[in-house]
Symmetry: C2
Subunit: 348 residues, 2 copies
DNA sequence: TCAGTATACTGAAACGTTACAGATTGCCAA
DNA sequence: TTGGCAATCTGTAACGTTTCAGTATACTGA
């Protein structure tokens, strides 16, 4: 029967060590429990005590220990952004991150980036996050109409938001760019320039916004009475070289399009290169409308017509949606659709 | 003297709950301590026991609870990438993240992105990370010759790596691109084309690589006998519009340069636009050498001369450096300098 | 035979937090 | 007076992990 001396090491307010609830309890002469509750404005704590505790806490710069909270409550204070490192680490990822951090900045949340690499099941990282309880909320992109990740997280009660919509009859927060409208506006802009044989460089087949884009394109085509020149051999997921080569092939054909619509700025660079490889001139032989997420295309070729998509806004909305869901709001009320800008020609 | 019944809730291997050490202990019939040590190959555990525990652990998919480990040991298994959201969230950030995640992928580490926004003290986020013990290692960029963040982390014993070198007489891991060599090569390439009045679009004043670039530029100028056309009114931190306007101004002067070196692709777009605004033609009136981090510039104007900087490599090296330091390697052995590619003309 | 020691294992405590189940005090109604 | 209740505050346990200080057993040398 031994009688060890237990050294606490924190019940004096001496050291350089980070203050804990125990430190605060010692300083205020209260119990640890009382301090804990006072800090979170629990009703059963006296008004004066509450103020006193909060004052002292602020003075000595108390910050709750994340590991303690997480261990006890399961709350991680983490939002995870799940990214496909193969396709998505293009410039717009930075913008999304920017938008997310902007929202998160004055919350206790941290942003962790969870990658999934080469040809891995997209569900893997999500499963990992859910199984290990690594995040309070998740943001995914490259959303599919029938998206197993969204389904999985719904089943497991994990708050999330998708960049892009789904079509499963399930309701969840999302943010999306109105690609149906984009494609439609693009067609109309080209039609207004007298172009009537149009080709489309689509989003990746299989993602939801592929459908919206294609539908918007098709509907507007018949609206303005233009026809489609099929160009199914590429999407914006293809490499610069592939897009360039196949565009050149396309433009050398007799039935070549006189208008092209591109769903991404990087692809547009390749498309224009392909057009010029074929000896044609932008603005004369063919017009191109492209989405872009930063103001680069007009520097590239002033003949380009552009539509702006704001990925910072996307990050912002997605983060707000996830936090909203975590805070208990209705998932259905956390959906947003961003309208495309006008189709813009080079402005002086 | 009450005699409450304590419900453990985990000592049966029943539920859907995540297995813990206790679960493993129950299943193997061992003590929690033994299981813990067996999993980390402690020497005082019998070989067979060790194998048995590890087998069971693998079978049921045991993963240590991060909060438990972190609370007990202080180890977070987190690497933090500290970013300036004002300047740095350009495309290359994605590449750095890609490189980092590549290294981190098969380690227990998570990557968290810690932003610091508009005109905030760059030391703030670092101080936060250190004070709250939120990360085992930190990666910073926009490194300065005398960098308070590096000094601070050295003082506090926090492993880190800098993107770019410092010049404080203190040794720490870094990865840097050899901008001295880049500027030199660029000057020589322009000289080889008969250009001898050269201007430089510099990195942001105050950052270490500003100095290297400027020195490489100056040394090579005198080496080849060319002269500098001062262009101090811009750096690559300026907006596209500013760079464009001032380049146009510069190019309208009588003493305009016949060669320009640009430290970033985005700036180069603006520079070329400015050149053309002034009615001059790239490749005829002036040649431009530019760094780029992805293959876009040759699509933009094939007359451009480019040097490639690999930011994915940077992320990769930085992550390896931090992990190496955490693992106990000598900081001085974790420094790397990446040589620029040749100056490349448009390749067919 | 016995002490000494190496081997293999174990319980308790601690990290910082919150939830649960009280405990203390004062006040009021009966 | 007494019982009840509201208002405040408190101790203990628990989250899952590792470390400390053991204990039990078998083996060793004399």
């Amino acid at each position: 029967m031994d009688r060890r001396v237990t050294k606490k090491g924190n019940d004096d307010a001496s050291g350089k060590e980070r203050p804990t609830l125990k430190t605060l309890a010692f300083m205020t002469g209260l119990g640890v429990t009382t301090v804990s509750r006072a800090l979170k404005d629990a009703p059963e704590i006296g008004a004066e005590t509450r103020r006193r505790v909060q004052l002292v806490a602020k003075q000595i710069g108390y910050r709750p220990n994340r590991a303690g909270v997480r261990l006890r409550t399961g709350k991680t204070n983490v939002i995870s952004l799940v990214l496909n490192t193969e396709h998505e680490l293009m410039s717009f990822v930075s913008d999304i991150i920017y938008g997310v951090t902007e929202v998160i900045a004055d919350t206790p949340y941290h942003l962790i980036v969870t990658p999934y690499s080469r040809s891995q099941d997209p569900l893997d990282p999500v499963r990992y996050l859910v199984e290990t309880g690594s995040a309070d909320g998740v943001i995914i992109s490259r959303t599919q109409p029938n998206d197993p990740r969204a389904r999985y997280m719904l089943e497991h009660g994990v708050p999330f938001a998708t960049h892009g919509r789904t079509d499963m009859g399930l309701v969840h927060p999302y943010h999306d760019f109105d690609n149906y409208a984009f494609a439609g506006e693009a067609v109309r802009a080209l039609a207004a320039k007298g172009r009537n044989r149009l080709a489309l460089v689509t989003p990746p087949v299989g993602l939801t916004y592929f459908r919206y884009t294609v539908n918007g394109f098709a509907d507007a085509l018949s609206e303005v009475g233009a026809s489609e020149v099929p160009f199914n051999t590429v999407s914006i997921d293809h490499t610069i070289e592939q897009i360039r080569m196949r565009t050149a092939q396309l433009m050398r054909r007799d039935d070549r399009p006189d208008g092209i619509i591109s769903s991404a700025a990087a692809a547009t660079l390749a498309v224009v290169a392909g057009i010029e490889d074929a000896g044609l001139k932008l603005g004369r032989d063919v017009d191109v409308v492209s989405k872009q997420s930063s103001e680069v295309l007009h520097l590239f070729r002033r003949e380009l017509l552009v539509v702006n998509e704001d990925f910072r806004l996307a990050g912002y909305e997605l983060a707000r949606a996830v936090l909203g869901w975590i805070a208990g709001k209705e998932p259905g009320s956390l959906q947003s659709l961003s309208k495309p800008s006008e189709v813009l020609p080079y402005r002086g």
